[in-house]
C-alpha cells in the first residue's frame, strides 16, 4: 500500500509532536503542573479567533497557519499568567484558578466565534477544527510547522535537561544549589504553551492536555528512572500521535483528538493493568499472596496450639489431630473458610485432612513451629517492652509477625532454641 506524500508527512509530524508532548509532559507531571496544559489549550481559542479576525481584516490567506498559532500562543500565555495571578490572591487555589481560566477563556472564544460567523468573509471557516483537531485536513506544510516546533521543544528539553530534572525532583535542594527554580518553571510553562499550540491542529485544544498527561502517566507506571520514563513517554506519545493521524485519514469524521486520546488511553490502561511493579494485577497478586501466607501461618499456629491446649507438651505438639472447627473458632473464621484453607494446605503438603480434622505433616509441623515461635517471640518482646497488655500483645503480634524481614526475624528468634510458652491461655475462645 502506498501512502500519499501528504498523509505520510502528516503522520510523521504527528508522531514527532507526540514525542515532544510526551517529553515535556513528563516534566510537567513530575512538577505537578500537568493540568496547566488544560488551561493553556482552552485559553488558545479566543487567540485563534482574534487572529483569524485580524488575518481576515488585512486580507491575508486565511488558511495560513502561523498567524493563528501565534494568536493561540499569545492567548495561552495570557491564560497561564491569569492562572498565576488568581493563585496569588491566596484565596483561589491553583486548581480553581485553572478551572476559571480555561472555562472563561473558552467561553470568550465561543462568543467570538459566534460573532465571526455573522461576518462576511471566510476567516472563521474551519476554525472549529482547532477545537477537536482534524489531522486529515492538515497540509504537508502545516505538519512541517508542527514538527519543527515540536523538534525545537525537544532540543530545548535536551539542553535544559539537568535544570529540569533538578527542579522536578527536589526544587528546594535545587534552589539551595543555586538553581533559579522560578526561571526553570517559566521555561517549563513556555514549553507547555508551545507544545499545546503545536498540537492544536492535530489534537485540538480541548484534548491536547491528554497528549501531555497520558504518555507521561503511562511511563510513570512502568519505571522509576527519569531517562527511561522520558523514553517511554516519548514512544507512547509518538504512537498515539501517529495513530490519531492514521485514524483521521481513515475516518475523517471522527475527531482526531479523540482518536489520539483513545490510543494513548489504551496504552495507559494496559500499563495500569499489567505493569510489573505498579499495575493493578501485580499489586492484587502481591496482596493475595500476603494474605494467603498470613492465613497459612495462622491456620498452622491454631492447629498447633489446639493440640497444646489439649494437653500435648510444647515439644511434642504436632502429633495429634486438631479439628478444623476449633481452628475456625480460635481464629474467628467461618467454618467454610477454615475448610477451604485446610484443603489448600493439604494440597501444599502441610497437613493431612480427614473427617473434619487436620494432622500436621512433618513439613507442616516445621512451618507451624516457625509460626508459633514468631508469634510468641513478638508477643514476649511487646510485653517485655511494656508496649501492650497480654490480650493486645496477641493481636499486635498477629499484625507484625508476617511482615518481619528475614534478618530481623533471625535476630528475634535465634534457632535452635526451646519454643517459648504462650503468655496467655490457649484453646477455644482466646482471640
Amino acid at each position: 500500500m502506498l501512502i500519499p506524500y501528504n498523509t505520510l508527512v502528516v503522520l510523521l509530524g504527528c508522531a514527532l509532536l507526540g514525542v515532544a508532548a510526551g517529553t515535556v509532559g513528563t516534566f510537567a507531571l513530575l512538577r505537578g503542573r500537568a493540568l496547566v496544559a488544560d488551561a493553556i489549550g482552552h485559553a488558545a481559542l479566543p487567540g485563534v479567533a482574534l487572529a483569524a479576525l485580524v488575518v481576515g481584516a488585512v486580507g491575508a490567506d486565511p488558511r495560513s497557519l502561523p498567524p493563528l498559532l501565534a494568536g493561540a500562543a499569545l492567548a495561552g500565555l495570557l491564560g497561564v499568567l491569569a492562572v498565576q495571578a488568581l493563585s496569588r490572591t491566596g484565596r483561589i487555589r491553583e486548581d480553581a484558578a485553572i478551572a476559571v481560566v480555561l472555562s472563561a477563556f473558552y467561553a470568550a472564544g465561543v462568543a467570538l466565534l459566534s460573532w465571526l460567523q455573522t461576518r462576511p468573509g471566510a476567516a472563521q471557516a474551519g476554525l472549529s477544527k482547532f477545537i477537536l483537531g482534524q489531522a486529515a485536513a492538515m497540509r504537508a506544510e502545516d505538519a512541517i510547522i508542527a514538527a519543527a516546533v515540536a523538534g525545537a521543544c525537544l532540543l530545548v528539553v535536551l539542553l535544559a535537561f539537568q535544570a529540569l530534572r533538578a527542579a522536578s525532583f527536589d526544587p528546594d535542594f535545587a534552589r539551595v544549589q543555586g538553581l533559579a527554580v522560578g526561571r526553570v518553571d517559566l521555561l517549563l510553562l513556555g514549553l507547555l504553551v508551545v507544545v499545546c499550540v503545536a498540537g492544536l491542529q492535530a489534537v485540538g485544544l480541548i484534548l491536547v492536555v491528554a497528549l501531555l498527561v497520558l504518555p507521561a502517566a503511562t511511563a510513570r507506571l512502568l519505571t522509576h528512572r527519569l531517562p527511561r520514563m522520558l523514553a517511554i513517554a516519548a514512544a507512547v506519545g509518538a504512537v498515539a500521535g501517529a495513530g490519531g493521524a492514521m485514524a483521521s485519514a481513515w475516518r475523517p469524521e471522527v475527531p482526531t483528538g479523540a482518536a489520539v486520546v483513545l490510543a494513548a488511553a489504551a496504552m495507559f490502561s494496559l500499563a495500569l493493568l499489567f505493569s510489573p511493579g505498579r499495575g493493578l494485577l501485580a499489586r492484587g497478586a502481591i496482596r493475595l499472596r500476603r494474605r494467603l501466607s498470613a492465613d497459612t501461618d495462622h491456620f498452622l499456629r491454631a492447629a498447633w496450639e489446639a493440640q497444646e491446649a489439649a494437653g500435648a507438651g510444647p515439644g511434642t505438639a504436632g502429633d495429634r489431630w486438631a479439628s478444623i472447627e476449633s481452628v475456625a473458632a480460635t481464629r474467628g473464621w467461618t467454618p467454610g473458610r477454615a475448610r477451604r484453607l485446610a484443603r489448600w494446605l493439604a494440597l501444599r503438603g502441610l497437613v493431612a485432612c480427614a473427617q473434619g480434622h487436620v494432622h500436621l505433616t512433618p513439613l507442616g509441623a516445621t512451618a507451624a513451629r516457625r509460626a508459633v515461635r514468631a508469634h510468641r517471640v513478638v508477643e514476649h518482646h511487646l510485653l517485655a517492652a511494656g508496649a501492650a497488655d497480654i490480650a493486645s500483645a496477641d493481636r499486635l503480634a498477629d499484625l507484625v509477625e508476617h511482615g518481619l524481614p528475614a534478618e530481623m526475624a533471625a535476630r528475634l528468634l535465634p534457632e535452635p532454641s526451646a519454643l517459648p510458652d504462650s503468655p496467655h491461655a490457649l484453646g477455644k475462645g482466646t482471640p
Binding site: L29, G32, A34, L35, A37, D38, H42, L50, A75, L78, L81, A82, V83, Q84, A85, L86, T89, R91, I92, R93, D95, A96, I98, A99, V100, V101, S103, A104, F105, Y106, A107, A108, G109, V110, A111, L112, L113, S114, W115, T118, L132, L207, V209, A210, V213, L214, A217, L221, E253, V254, P255, G257, A258, A259, V261, A265, L272, R278, G279, L280
Partner: protein
C-alpha cells in the same frame, strides 16, 4: 420585539440559563471549598459518554435515561480517578486529566458511532451549547402561561433542569451542616461518624446531574464556567459559608440571566445586529466576575504601603 417573541423565543432560554446557572452556582461552592474544582471540570466532561449511551439505548434525547447514564459515567470517572491516582501514584490533577480526557474522547467517538449526531446531540451542542434553540411553540400570549396544555409544550430540557434544580436545592438544604463539615474539616466530620465517603459521592452525583441538566443549554465545557466562576468570585469576597453557597447560586443565576440577555435580546432591542452565542457570553461574564472580584479585593487589601504597580496579566478572562 413583540410579547409573542418574548414568550416563544426568549422565555425558555432565559429560564434555562437561570436554572442552570443557579444549580451549578450552588454546587460550585462546595467544589471550590473542597479544593475539587477540577473534579467539577472532570465531571462536566466525563458525563458525555453516559449521556450519549443513555440516548442511544432509549433513543430519547432527554430525561431520565440520559440522566441515569450520565450519573453512572460520573460515578465511574470518580472511581477511576481514585484508582489511577493510587495505583500510578499521580498527583490528583494528573489522574483527573488522564481520566476525563479519555471519557470525553469516548463520548466524542460514541456520538459518531451511535448515530446520535444526526439527531439533536451533535458536536456543536457539546462544544457550544444550544441555548438559542430552546423555543416554546405554544407561547403565543400571556394566557399560555397558565394554560397546562401550552405549558406542556415547553422544551423538555426545561423540565429536566427544573427537576434537577429542585432536587439539588432540597438535598443541599437537608445536608447543610454535614456538607459544611466535609468542606471545612473532613477529618472532624469523619470523627463525628459522618459518612464522609457517601457525602462525597453524593456531591459528585449532584454535580454530574447538574452537568447533564446544564449540558444541553450551555454545552459540556461551559458547564465548568457555571460551576466554578460564581463560586470563585464569592470565595474572593466572603468568608461566610452561607453567603458563599447561597451567593454562589444567586450569582450563577444572575450571570445566566444577564449573559443570555446581553447575547441576543438586548442588542436586538437596541437595534444592533449582533447576536452572540449565549453560553459563550455567560462564561465570559463569569470570568469577568472573578477578575472583578480579584481586583476589588486587591484594592481593598492595599495597606498604607506604597501601592504596588498592577502586574501584567492580572485581569483573567479579559480576552
Amino acid at each position: 420585539m413583540t410579547l409573542q417573541d418574548l414568550l416563544m423565543l426568549d422565555l425558555p432560554p432565559l429560564l434555562a440559563a437561570l436554572l442552570a446557572g443557579g444549580t451549578c452556582g450552588l454546587l460550585g461552592s462546595f467544589l471550590v471549598l473542597r479544593r475539587e474544582s477540577l473534579v467539577g471540570d472532570a465531571l462536566a466532561h466525563a458525563v458525555l459518554p453516559g449521556i450519549i449511551l443513555g440516548f442511544a439505548v432509549t433513543g430519547v434525547a432527554s430525561g431520565l435515561p440520559m440522566l441515569a447514564g450520565a450519573m453512572l459515567a460520573g460515578l465511574a470517572a470518580v472511581g477511576l480517578i481514585a484508582v489511577v491516582q493510587k495505583a500510578a501514584r499521580l498527583d490528583p490533577g494528573a489522574a483527573i486529566g488522564a481520566v476525563f480526557t479519555t471519557f470525553f474522547a469516548v463520548g466524542l467517538v460514541l456520538i459518531e458511532v451511535t448515530g446520535a449526531r444526526s439527531v439533536d446531540l451533535d458536536l456543536d451542542c457539546v462544544l457550544f451549547g444550544q441555548l438559542e434553540t430552546l423555543v416554546w411553540t405554544e407561547g403565543r400570549s400571556l394566557a399560555a402561561l397558565v394554560d397546562p396544555a401550552a405549558l406542556a409544550a415547553l422544551p423538555r430540557q426545561l423540565g429536566l433542569m427544573a427537576g434537577v434544580a429542585v432536587a439539588v436545592g432540597l438535598t443541599v438544604a437537608a445536608l447543610w451542616r454535614p456538607l459544611k463539615l466535609i468542606c471545612f474539616d473532613p477529618g472532624y466530620a469523619a470523627a463525628l461518624g459522618l459518612p464522609s465517603r457517601g457525602l462525597e459521592i453524593g456531591l459528585a452525583m449532584m454535580v454530574a446531574a447538574a452537568a447533564v441538566a446544564a449540558f444541553q443549554a450551555v454545552g459540556s465545557i461551559l458547564v465548568v464556567a457555571m460551576l466554578v466562576c460564581p463560586a470563585a468570585a464569592l470565595r474572593l469576597m466572603t468568608d461566610d459559608y452561607r453567603t458563599q453557597v447561597l451567593g454562589g447560586a444567586a450569582l450563577g443565576a444572575a450571570l445566566g440571566g444577564v449573559g443570555y440577555a446581553l447575547a441576543g435580546p438586548v442588542p436586538a432591542a437596541l437595534g444592533i445586529g449582533v447576536a452572540l452565542n449565549a453560553a459563550g457570553v455567560i462564561g465570559t461574564l463569569g470570568g469577568l466576575a472573578v477578575a472583578a472580584a480579584a481586583l476589588a479585593r486587591r484594592r481593598a487589601s492595599v495597606t498604607p504601603r506604597p501601592a504596588e504597580p498592577a502586574l501584567p496579566g492580572s485581569a483573567p478572562g479579559s480576552a
